[in-house]
């Protein structure tokens, strides 16, 4: 009886615990092979040309030969091309042509990849709407950065220029603190015809430090240059600027490698002076100059550390819209509190992350009068795509997409190519 029970149990276990064949255990990744095959065949737009040829054209035969030649002998394929026609909000697909080297089908173990090709006589253009106002990027060679570990402020400035300049009529790199001083005095600093100091966007690439012109260091030295931060806030209000801080605690240090050459930020970086948490309060008071007409010091620490924060639904939408894909969750340790809206008469606009405990990890605080402050309170190191996204969410310029065809739109402009692969033998 015992033997019978065990035999039945073993038989049942063997029946149900069917192990797959070696082919199934470690078959090549056919989906990726299909995708890379399509990419190789589309080198120099060759596949796109074939996909729009008439069915009797030699190009289809050539494609069949090329497919057979490029795939390993034990791989069978089926390549199908579909027309894509947009009807209202829906897209319909109709089969155009199919080529295969398998008469009996590819079986259930096949994998497929899709590839979108565009007619070679079609041109797509993408033109972003221009944000009114000049983009100034602080690229000061005589200022050091902090919390931009792994980057230099100059490399960040270049990346930001590449990322954002298509959205602005004029982008000006502020090359040194002298230029910054001129800008703070309301002067144009380039020969670009459309440069306009008013309504500009200024991005500080030095992280938690802010460059300080020598003249301003002499004029506003109080409380370890917190007074200078107040002046910055006033200028933002005066010229209706949007001031952007890319990482960490804003205005925590000031930097000028010449003027402050003998000072260090208490971490051994010379050319920098520790302002402390009072710098941000001073800036916000300057921004709200109507209610804080004269400088006064407040050294309290106001940012919070909500930890991991997640993209708002708006951020997800604009991330797709502008093609900017930073990680949708980040760690925030210097998030601004919600109460500064009431205290400094600002309104939160375009928050990149959902607020946590009434703290905004990346958002633009627009003053009820003029001026705005975009603060990215994430921990180091900075991801400038977050900065780009925050600014684009705030200004939300429209992307104009155009399509031009030479044949007056008679033929479909896009076709979907599906390559299905299956492995033969070895089972």
């Amino acid at each position: 009886m015992v033997i019978l029970i065990l035999a039945v149990a073993f038989g049942a276990a063997t029946f149900f615990a069917v192990l797959p064949s070696p082919t199934q255990i470690a078959s090549p990744n056919l989906r990726q092979l299909a995708l890379t095959t399509l990419q190789v065949l589309d080198a120099n737009k060759a596949l796109a040309k074939v996909a729009f040829e008439d069915l009797g054209d030699q190009a289809w035969t050539d494609l069949e030969i090329a497919l057979s030649a490029s795939l390993p002998p034990n791989i069978v394929y089926n390549l199908t091309v579909y027309d894509m026609v947009e009807v209202g909000d829906a897209t319909t697909y109709s089969k155009v042509h199919s080529i295969t080297n398998s008469e009996s089908g590819l079986g259930t173990d096949s994998e497929a990849s899709t590839y979108l090709v565009t007619s070679t006589n079609v041109t797509f253009t993408v033109t972003p709407q221009k944000i009114s106002g000049t983009l100034y990027i602080l690229n000061c060679t005589d200022a050091n950065g902090w919390w931009i570990t792994g980057y230099t402020s100059q490399s960040l400035a270049t990346d930001l220029q590449n990322l954002l300049s298509p959205y602005f009529n004029t982008t000006v790199m502020v090359q040194n603190t002298t230029d910054l001083g001129a800008l703070l005095n309301g002067n144009e600093i380039s020969s670009f015809p459309h440069e306009n100091v008013t309504n500009a966007v200024i991005i500080n690439t030095c992280g938690e430090a802010v460059p300080i012109p020598s003249m301003y260091a002499d004029l506003f030295p109080r409380d370890s240059y917190a007074e200078y931060c107040y002046e910055l806030g006033k200028r933002v209000n005066q010229y209706n600027w949007t001031w952007v801080s890319i990482v960490g605690y804003p205005f925590y240090y000031v930097s000028n490698t010449v003027k402050l050459s003998s000072s260090h930020n208490s971490w051994g970086i010379y050319g920098m002076r520790n302002v402390g948490s009072g710098g941000l309060n001073s800036f916000l008071r300057g921004l709200d100059v109507e209610n804080y007409p004269s400088y006064s010091y407040d050294g309290s620490w106001i940012t919070g550390s909500p930890g991991v924060v997640y993209f708002s639904s708006n951020a997800s939408y604009y991330s797709n819209y502008y093609g900017l894909y930073p990680s949708p969750y980040q760690t925030a340790t210097r998030a601004l509190p919600s109460w500064i809206q009431g205290t400094y008469h600002t309104t939160v606009m375009a928050s990149v992350f959902n607020p946590v405990s009434d703290r905004y990890a990346a958002a633009t605080f627009k003053h009820t009068g003029t001026g705005a402050f975009t603060a990215i309170g994430l921990t180091r190191t900075p991801d400038i795509r977050i900065t780009g996204l925050a600014l684009l969410m705030y200004y939300h310029p429209i992307i104009y997409k155009s399509e031009f065809t030479l044949t007056a739109g008679e033929r479909p402009t896009q076709r979907l190519v599906i390559l299905q692969l299956s492995q033969q033998g070895g089972g």
Binding site: I3, A26, A69, S70
Partner: protein
């Protein structure tokens, strides 16, 4: 009573035997299932590892064009997207396919040998190359997984002499699964001739098409047996591009002039005397050479690019630490090939060196040795290198777990 006891003993023994038998049978099933899981994991790892290598340029991004120490390993061409590889990064990999070469001999300076066949050379200093251990460590699989990468053109273009006088060359174009029939074939034939002291090259260009078996014949009017020439032919069909080359020389006294990349980052190349690599006996020839660099354009044509010291004389070293060589510099980051034609008396020779492995469709094999492992997983991708269609195959195996082999034996 005794009978009952005996019955009891027999029953107990039978019961224990049955239990042991079926425990063994179950254990076999479970063991097979565990092995299945392990092997499947290796297969996944192979696919992941391959994509990690092919879809990242590594760091520094342009490490293929410098002598920089790597902090991240990847073969993607900087600035490109998708499966497009840097032909210079591939050139810095220590190849398993050729034995290292010492130059000058007995100097202790060894060169990575990416074998090209007769007349073709690619020697890179091993000190400037990336070895398997470094790549494995940077990929984070050191000690856990072994791998080997095979990077070879999808389309093989083989050229052979079909008839010598007048010269008729046979070109065969094949993929891994099928011959490439109806492919457009273009060729550049560089023929050596003497003008004064230094040899020169004469270029012939032509196009044709392969037949239904992927074969075509190229006809020339000269006697192939008495001429020195190199032909580079490429075939194109529906996005696929393959290339082959073939050299014939009348010089038969050794290897002649051999190019060595002595400073990778600077693109400095020595044109070495073969006697400094192998003692080919006496008399030792005296060479007059001409070197020409052809750069690969975006339209996949080869255009001449002026280089320094393009002509010169190389006598044998004579020992005493003194070695004679020609020296030139190639443009860093610009793929192409170096063609050297040389003369010794009335005999002519030619050699060719790719600069970036894609321009001459060079294959390379990089990684560890999978021999002895019970289970290896493979995966492959189609990629582009210098506009050329390549196939990258990874072979991956586990270095830990059950039924694996390492230097200490079986586990």
């Amino acid at each position: 009573m005794v009978g009952v006891t005996i019955d009891h003993l027999v029953a107990t023994t039978a019961f224990i035997a049955a239990i042991l038998l079926f425990v063994g049978l179950f254990a076999q099933t479970i063991q097979a299932a565990i092995l299945y899981q392990q092997n499947r994991h290796v297969a996944f790892k192979a696919s992941d590892l391959l994509d990690n290598i092919l879809l990242s340029p590594g760091y520094p991004y342009n490490w293929g064009e410098t002598n920089d120490t790597l902090s991240c390993f990847g073969l993607q061409k900087p600035g490109a997207s998708g499966y497009v590889l840097s032909s210079f990064a591939l050139m810095r990999l220590i190849s398993l396919s050729g034995e290292p070469v010492e130059y000058p001999r007995d100097s202790g300076k060894w060169y990575n040998n990416i074998s090209l066949g007769p007349g073709g050379y690619l020697f890179i200093p091993i000190s400037d190359s990336i070895n398997y251990e470094t790549a494995s460590r940077l990929l984070g699989v050191n000690g856990t997984y072994g791998f080997q990468l095979s990077i070879k053109p999808i389309i093989e273009v083989s050229i052979s002499e079909y008839q010598s006088n007048p010269l008729k060359l046979k070109v065969e174009v094949n993929g891994p699964g099928f011959p490439l029939s109806g492919a457009n074939l273009s060729y550049y034939l560089y023929r050596s001739y003497q003008t004064g002291q230094y040899p020169s090259i004469e270029l012939s260009i032509g196009t044709t098409q392969t037949d239904s078996s992927g074969v075509t014949y190229l006809n020339f009017t000269f006697d192939g047996a008495s001429e020195t020439y190199t032909i580079v032919a490429y075939a194109r069909l529906s996005g696929l591009l393959g290339l082959g080359h073939y050299s014939h020389e009348t010089f038969t006294k050794g290897a002649g002039v051999i190019p060595f990349v002595v400073d990778y980052e600077e693109g400095k190349v020595y044109l070495a005397h073969s006697w400094d690599v192998h003692d080919t006996g006496t008399p030792v020839p005296n060479y007059f050479y001409s070197a020409t660099f052809f750069i690969l354009t975006e339209e996949f044509t080869f255009q001449e690019w002026p280089i320094a010291n393009s002509t010169g004389q190389i006598n044998y070293g004579g020992g005493g630490g003194q070695y004679n060589y020609g020296e030139t510099t190639l443009p860093v980051g610009y793929p192409g090939f170096l063609l050297v034609t040389y003369r010794s008396g009335d005999d002519y020779g030619m050699c060719i060196m790719p600069w970036g492995i894609g321009t001459l469709a060079v294959s390379t094999l990089f990684g560890g040795n999978p021999a002895g492992n019970v289970w290896t997983a493979t995966d492959l991708r189609q990629v582009i290198v210098d506009q050329m269609a390549y196939q990258v195959q990874i072979t991956c195996w586990s270095l830990s777990g059950y039924q694996i082999w390492n230097s200490r034996g079986w586990f």
